[in-house]
């Protein structure tokens, strides 16, 4: 049974923390309790009162932007699906499109989707009903990170409950609308977070991103119109339907609309995540919510939105955390999860660690990413180990250029370049000191994997 006190305090935040007010990590709400707490109102409104195009208009007007990292307007993404276009082709009639929820949260330093998936699974199901209805999709998939066992279990329970309560399956809530929802747990590749690689993986193919165009909205899963949305993006939908677009816009003064789940990890006192209005400053996030730097440490730099964003440094502390402002500061909002580097840790080692991750996770399709990331790892390993030369810095800069946007098949390698390039700019001295002194100036290699140390050492 739901604790009435908990519910009252949760509901008090319904309009300020719409995404997380019902989160209960110990025991997520079952369908009755979720409905009791105002759940499925949005979905009911959508399927019984609105046409798909009206829902689309509502979502477009709300200004919702994708929370997966790129910040693409959700309404615009949806409107490219043939069934929602004015000139709809006969072949793309109802039932011929798919919705996929991207729950393959593998960005280092990011754990916001997990919070929603484990804490309030029904919210996602409700969201997917709304989105699928809008897209005229009769099948929807949740592509879940393989390691999210708890989420998979809780989601499946929630899906079962939704079927039992006629929120999934045939003739949802007495309407003519039908939706089947499936969970697919990933076999585990970072690249599956890229929507077209995700679609390939879901089809049972190699998880290589696809060339665009055609975009998934036209030729996606099994060649059918498909929309892939992030968990957090979708989770906004019930609230937008319930409270309207104006409310959503007003959640965040002077910034992108809505709230955002921000997170912080690394050398901070109080790592965690918080749903805050869009556009909170880095300073507020870091010093008020995350409790500031660990004792004895100064902020050296931070990645504002996961591993594939550029470093920001103390001078950027007053930048609002929204898509545009972070962009102007030279980085990307990404997932909104800060990775904080203190001044007692080696930035070269941190970048090396990140690049190892990207080189490991490269799908191997295009040359710049496949060979470029590995090459960068080779150079960074030598520098960190005190065997770098000044030529290496030139080579690294060239590699950054080589792997940049427009030159690669997808955004993985440019994402790898972002921390590397910005680190070489902001922490130039550190790189040069490594080379000059022939060793890591931080005297700690705990971020460097043992494998690479021994490999380089063996090579002399």
């Amino acid at each position: 049974m739901i604790d009435p006190n908990w519910l009252t305090s949760a509901l008090a935040q319904a309009k300020t923390k719409p995404l997380t007010h019902l989160v209960n990590l110990e025991q997520p709400l079952n369908i009755e309790d979720y409905i009791c707490a105002g759940g499925y109102c949005g979905a009911r409104k959508a399927v019984t009162e609105l046409t798909p195009k009206e829902v689309l208009a509502l979502v477009s007007d709300s200004g919702l932007k994708g929370r997966g990292g790129a910040g693409f307007p959700t309404g615009m993404k949806w409107s490219c699906v043939p069934s929602l276009q004015d000139k709809s082709l006969a072949m793309n009639a109802t039932g011929n499109s798919y919705l996929i929820c991207n729950g393959d949260e593998m960005e280092p330093g990011t754990f916001k989707d997990r919070y929603l998936l484990e804490g309030v699974p029904h919210q996602l199901i409700e969201s997917m009903i709304i989105a699928s209805y809008t897209l005229s999709a009769n099948k929807a998939f949740i592509f879940l990170r393989g390691e999210y066992h708890v989420a998979a279990k809780r989601l499946q329970q929630a899906i079962d409950q939704a079927y039992e309560n006629n929120w999934l399956g045939e003739r949802i809530q007495g309407t003519g609308y039908r939706l089947d929802l499936y969970i697919h747990t990933s076999a585990g590749r970072y690249i599956c977070g890229e929507e077209t690689a995700l679609i390939n993986a879901l089809e049972g193919k190699r998880a290589n991103p696809r060339a665009k165009p055609p975009f998934p909205q036209v030729s996606g899963l099994f060649g059918k119109p498909t929309v892939v949305n992030n968990v957090e993006t979708l989770s906004n939908l019930p609230h937008i339907l319930k409270h309207g677009g104006e409310w959503f816009k007003n959640l965040s003064p002077n910034s992108d609309p809505g709230t955002k789940i921000y997170a912080a990890c690394g050398q901070v006192k109080n790592p965690g995540l918080w749903e805050l209005p869009m556009g909170v400053t880095i300073r507020e996030l870091l010093y008020e919510h995350a409790g500031g730097m660990k004792s004895g440490m100064q902020l050296k730099g931070l990645l504002p939105g996961g591993a594939s964003t550029d470093f920001l440094v103390p001078e950027h502390l007053d930048t609002p955390m929204d898509f545009d402002s972070i962009g102007k500061a030279g980085s990307r909002l990404g997932t909104g999860g800060l990775i904080v580097l203190g001044d007692k840790h080696c930035p070269v080692a941190m970048v090396l660690n990140l690049l190892q991750f990207f080189a490991q996770e490269s799908c191997g399709w295009c040359t710049p990413c496949r060979d470029g990331t590995a090459w960068a790892v080779e150079i960074l390993t030598r520098i960190e180990h005190g065997q770098g030369t000044s030529k290496d810095l030139t080579q690294l800069a060239e590699l950054c250029d080589f792997m940049w946007l427009g030159k690669t098949h997808c955004a993985l390698a440019p994402g790898a370049v972002e921390p590397l390039k910005s680190a070489m700019r902001y922490f130039k001295d550190d790189f040069e000191q490594h080379i000059k002194q022939g060793c890591c100036t931080y005297h700690q290699n705990n971020l460097l994997s043992a494998k690479y140390i021994s490999k380089v050492a063996n090579n002399g």
Partner: protein, 1022 residues
């Protein structure tokens, strides 16, 4: 949707490359447009025939918004659609630098083993490295290493060289439909190979050698004894291993053929060959080659001095002079040689080596060809469509011909035809056909309807909407039923036989069991027919494929009727027919086919009537002259009978056969790699082939030997010419159109001047024959061999690209076969110097042409009676033997190659469980089949899908020409203990002999490099 389908119209637009205007076509991508203008832009993953996927990023260029834009943005040209007025930079520093970086990134793992790599000197990666200006390695780390796999006898694997362009898997899996090859792993550890080590199954695996831009996949036969491309002497040739006539380029050095490469022919094989064509030519180096003259004073042919003593030959031939001669030509000898032989012996005394059944078959074949022009492979694939928007095939129906075995390259074409439906679907959302990945994503599972009607399971069964395995007689019956249905506009309800089946099936079934009547249809057959008829009724341009391998004239007749019915305008269908001929010059021989042509049976009769010992003198009888003919369809006893009844037997052949053992005189003729002439492919196209090198005497070209025979045996004909060109002239003067066509064509070639067989950079051109004389070879050979050829045996002359038939593919900066685009009018288009398309004008002789259909059957049976007629119900319990040799053994000449023999798993006979029970045998039991040709032994394999009267045999010792013969159950028995032992011994020794032969050939050829055996010395000098 109708408008969408018309998006393929060619449109030329102007684009600006480095501010210079160029015309490019909107049908293809920007990369193809740049290359079509003969500009150098490096690439790896894109392939002209396989389209774009955007993996390697090598073809990056800078695109500018307008004239004022100086920064531009980088795009991948292979992934970019061409639009009017677009501005791109090829030489701008940004894109040039990026392209260089791509190479340097690939070089982080590519080993520096060029000296031992067979690809060296024609490596696309080497070319692109130079082209991008990458000159030094920056990478200091370890290179990744892989374990290589054994991929069989044909293709070598060296994965460390891989630059991960994905071309191999895209060819093998996507384009050729192979299933045992894939891509594994990720990041910079991507592995291309098989899940498990083992021989590649695909008959197109050899194309990996050319598709791979570097030396990961190599031709094993070549790399065991490799030479650099620049040191090869090459000639334009025609593949002699099936009737398609794919164009090949043969490379030779030190008197031995080293390899076969694809020679681009826009209409025919395009960029790809099958493995029988690529590797099968190895037979020319076999120890089965005949190198001496048999039966004449041994001084006549001495292989060591390499001289041919014409005087002693003349003396000896005088011994074999006879009153009458019968000449037997063959479908693997050149058109000219057959023509000459027929002229020598006269049309009344000429045979094609066919038995009565094959004669009837030949007539039906000729009938079909005169009525239905045969499409080229490109026509079937509708390659032209990516431009000219012709209708494409929307249904494929394969009848009684296992094209995987008989014409493998056609099977590859059919696989592309099946993609038509997917390409059409891609048009719906405006995805360009060259966007390979996007088309496969959007419409990957969409396949053009395919129906297969075969005597055995084939590779196509799983792609087919419906496929049935039936006996030949049932196949004919199904085709007849289908024709009946079509006659009444597809309304199958009105067709009596089918109606009958569905109504009282039980009764009919009973009848068929008793063997009295089998004209009713089984449930399966009915279902198949209904599906097929309804699909055909919706098709606009069906492609019907059939062939002669079942040796069934009745089948061809049934197909003829079907085509006639389909072609009726009222159906609104434009059907196309493709008939697979048995051998490389079968269609050429149809030209000589008349009512006078002798069958083997007629020859035997004639011989019996003209006893050899008439008046006690041998010379008064009939002398048989056999041109590269082994008469493998008849039994050894018949061959011996032939020999005993003729006065003399003169055989011209390149390799030992049963007949060369019997013959009085064996004249060693040159194989296709050493001779010239024309072969006529399945379409009737006369295609010229030229020698890659001059054979060692006494091996001479077949027509040269025939001229010697003319000189000494057919003196009354006063033939006094000595070259192929004069031979053409001789027949041209006699009004033969083919000769005129060929002469015009050769004249055009000569006008353009000599083309060199050797490359401009052939090294040591004077030193390579220094043990004999320090001269260029050419000087000695002028006159006898090369005077009248437009190809020279040296570096002298224009480089290969200037010929319409290119000896090899090369152009400046492009040393690999990728160079071909430099010689095409546009990428994927025709060659700039297009070879003349000489179509043989096939006409039925008036004797047959004016005969009504009904009396034709009668007349045929009168001329060439055959023992059993497939149309008529079979005798009780009669069994049918169907050949099922794998593609690499399904042709006589290829069967000699040791590598192919080593690939063969052993003799098998497949039969249904019920039939196996009749012989009381289980899986793996050895069966003995008593054939008139010989006793054959094979392991039993139970195949539940086979009809109960079917024996599907794959027996090495049985000639491929013996097919669809009926047997009685008495001819089959379980082998006894001794026979099993003997069988097992034969099976093992076949493999060990082949592997010994493989090693022996290699050792001999390597030794030969040190002691060049070619006779370069002009006879007149001594």
């Amino acid at each position: 949707m109708a408008e969408h389908n018309k998006t393929t119209n060619t449109k030329e637009v102007t684009i600006y490359i480095d501010n210079i205007p160029y015309q490019v076509s909107t049908d293809n991508n920007l990369l193809a447009g740049v290359l079509s203008n003969k500009l150098n832009l490096p690439y790896f993953c894109w392939h002209p025939s396989m389209g774009s996927v955007g993996a390697c990023r090598q073809c990056a260029v800078t695109q500018y918004q307008d004239e004022k834009d100086t920064r531009g943005r980088m795009i991948m040209s292979c992934m970019t659609t061409v639009v009017e007025g677009m501005r791109i930079g090829l030489t701008d520093p940004a894109s040039a630098k990026f392209r260089e970086q791509v190479i340097s990134a690939m070089m982080t793992n590519h080993p520096h083993d060029c000296p031992v790599c067979a690809e060296g000197g024609e490596c696309h990666l080497q070319d692109m490295t130079i082209m991008t200006g990458h000159t030094s390695r920056g990478y200091q780390g370890e290179k990744r290493t892989f374990t290589n796999q054994y991929l069989g006898e044909l293709v070598g694997h060296e994965m460390n060289r891989c630059i991960t362009c994905y071309r191999c898997v895209r060819f093998y899996k996507d384009y050729a439909g192979g299933k045992d090859f894939d891509v594994f792993g990720s990041r910079n550890q991507v592995y291309f190979g098989r899940q498990k080590e083992g021989a590649l199954h695909s008959p197109f695996s050899g194309n990996l050698v050319e598709v791979c831009p570097t030396g990961v996949f190599t031709n094993k036969l070549f790399s065991a004894h490799f030479t650099r491309k620049w040191d090869l002497q090459s000639s334009p040739s025609i593949c002699a291993h099936c009737s398609l006539g794919c164009n090949t380029s043969i490379g030779e050095r030190y008197g031995s053929v080293r390899r076969v490469m694809n020679r681009y022919n826009h209409d025919l094989n395009g960029y790809f060959l099958c493995d029988r064509g690529r590797f099968g030519l190895g037979f020319v180096n076999s120890s089965k080659r005949i190198t001496t003259i048999k039966g004449i004073n041994s001084k006549a042919g001495d292989p060591l001095t390499a001289r041919l003593n014409e005087k002693s030959l003349a003396n000896a031939l005088a011994e074999h002079k006879a009153e009458q001669y019968i000449g037997i030509g063959s479908a693997r000898a050149s058109f000219e040689a057959n023509r000459l032989l027929k002229y020598l012996v006269g049309k009344e005394n000429f045979s094609l080596g066919y038995n009565n059944n094959e004669m009837q078959l030949a007539l039906r074949h000729k009938q079909l060809l005169t009525q239905y022009p045969q499409q080229s492979l490109a026509g079937m694939e509708n390659v032209t469509r990516r431009g000219r928007g012709k209708t494409q095939h929307d249904l494929v129906f394969i009848i009684g011909e296992n094209i995987d075995q008989t014409a493998p390259r056609l099977a590859l074409t059919i696989k592309q035809v099946l993609r038509n439906a997917a390409l059409d679907k891609a048009d719906d959302i405006g995805v360009k056909h060259w966007q390979d990945a996007a088309v496969r994503t959007y419409a990957g599972d969409k396949s053009t309807p395919l129906f297969s009607l075969q005597t055995q399971q084939t590779e196509f069964d799983e792609l087919a909407n419906s496929a049935v395995v039936l006996s030949p007689a049932r196949i004919i019956f199904i085709v007849q039923c289908l024709t009946n249905m079509l006659k009444v506009d597809f309304s199958y309800e009105m067709v009596v036989p089918i109606q009958g089946t569905t109504v009282d099936e039980g009764e009919n079934k009973h009848q068929s069991d008793s063997g009295v009547k089998c004209l009713d249809l089984s449930e399966n057959e009915t279902k198949y027919l209904l599906l097929l008829a309804s699909a055909l009724s919706q098709a606009n341009a069906p492609l019907i494929v059939t062939g002669l391998s079942l040796k069934s004239a009745a089948l061809l007749k049934a197909v003829d009727n079907l085509m006639a019915c389909l072609s009726q305008k009222s159906h609104g269908i434009i059907p196309e027919l493709t008939v697979v001929a048995p051998e490389c010059n079968s269609v050429g021989n149809l030209h000589f086919f008349t009512e006078h042509t002798l069958s083997v049976e007629q020859i035997l009769t004639r011989l019996a009537q003209t006893p050899a010992n008439n008046e006690g003198k041998v010379s008064k009888g009939i002398t048989l002259i056999l041109l590269e003919q082994e008469l493998s369809q008849i039994s050894q006893a018949q061959r011996e009978l032939l020999r005993s009844q003729c006065a003399s037997m003169i055989v011209l052949d390149h390799s030992r056969t049963a007949l060369t053992q019997l013959a009085d005189v064996v004249l060693p003729s040159a194989a296709v790699s050493e001779s010239s002439g024309h072969l006529v492919n399945y379409q009737g196209s006369l295609q010229a082939f030229y020698p890659a090198h001059i054979p060692v005497e006494p091996i001479m070209q077949n027509w040269q030997y025939l001229l010697l025979l003319a000189k000494y045996l057919f003196t009354h004909l006063s033939i006094n010419f000595s070259s192929l060109k004069q031979l053409h002239l001789f027949f041209a003067e006699r009004g033969e159109p083919w000769a005129l066509q060929v002469m015009t064509c050769e004249k055009n070639r000569e006008k353009r001047g000599k083309v060199a067989r050797q490359t401009h950079r052939a090294s040591g051109r004077t030193a390579m024959t220094a043990n004999q004389s320090v001269h260029e070879i050419k000087n000695y050979l002028e006159g006898k061999y090369t005077q009248e050829e437009w190809l020279s045996y040296s570096m002298e002359g224009a480089y290969a690209g200037k010929g319409d038939e290119m000896p090899y593919t090369w152009s400046p900066a492009w040393n690999s076969n990728q160079a071909v685009f430099q010689h095409q009018k546009e990428v994927n288009g025709e060659l700039q110097f297009k070879a003349c398309n000489n179509l043989l004008n096939l006409t039925l002789s008036a004797f047959f042409d004016e005969m009504p259909q009904e009396s034709l059957d009668e007349k045929l049976c009168e001329l060439w009676p055959i023992e059993y007629d497939e149309n008529k119900p079979q005798a009780d319990k009669s069994l049918i033997l169907i050949q099922n040799l794998p593609w690499y053994l399904a042709e006589q000449q290829a069967k000699i190659l040791p590598e192919f023999i080593m690939m063969f798993a052993g003799n098998t006979v497949e039969l249904s469980a019920q039939l196996a029970e009749c012989f009381n045998c289980k899986n793996h039991d050895v069966l003995k089949i008593n054939l008139p040709q010989k006793d054959i032994f094979a392991k039993t394999v139970i195949n539940p899908q086979l009809p109960d009267n079917h024996l599907l045999v794959s027996v090495f010792e049985l000639s491929i020409k013996v097919n669809n013969v009926s047997l009685t159950s008495e001819q089959i028995a379980k082998a006894d203990h001794d026979e099993i032992l003997k069988f097992k011994q034969i099976e093992t020794s076949r493999f060990t002999e082949a592997s010994k032969e493989k090693a022996a050939i290699l050792a001999r050829l390597k030794a030969q490099d040190q002691n060049i055996p070619i006779s370069f010395i002009d006879r007149k000098e001594q």
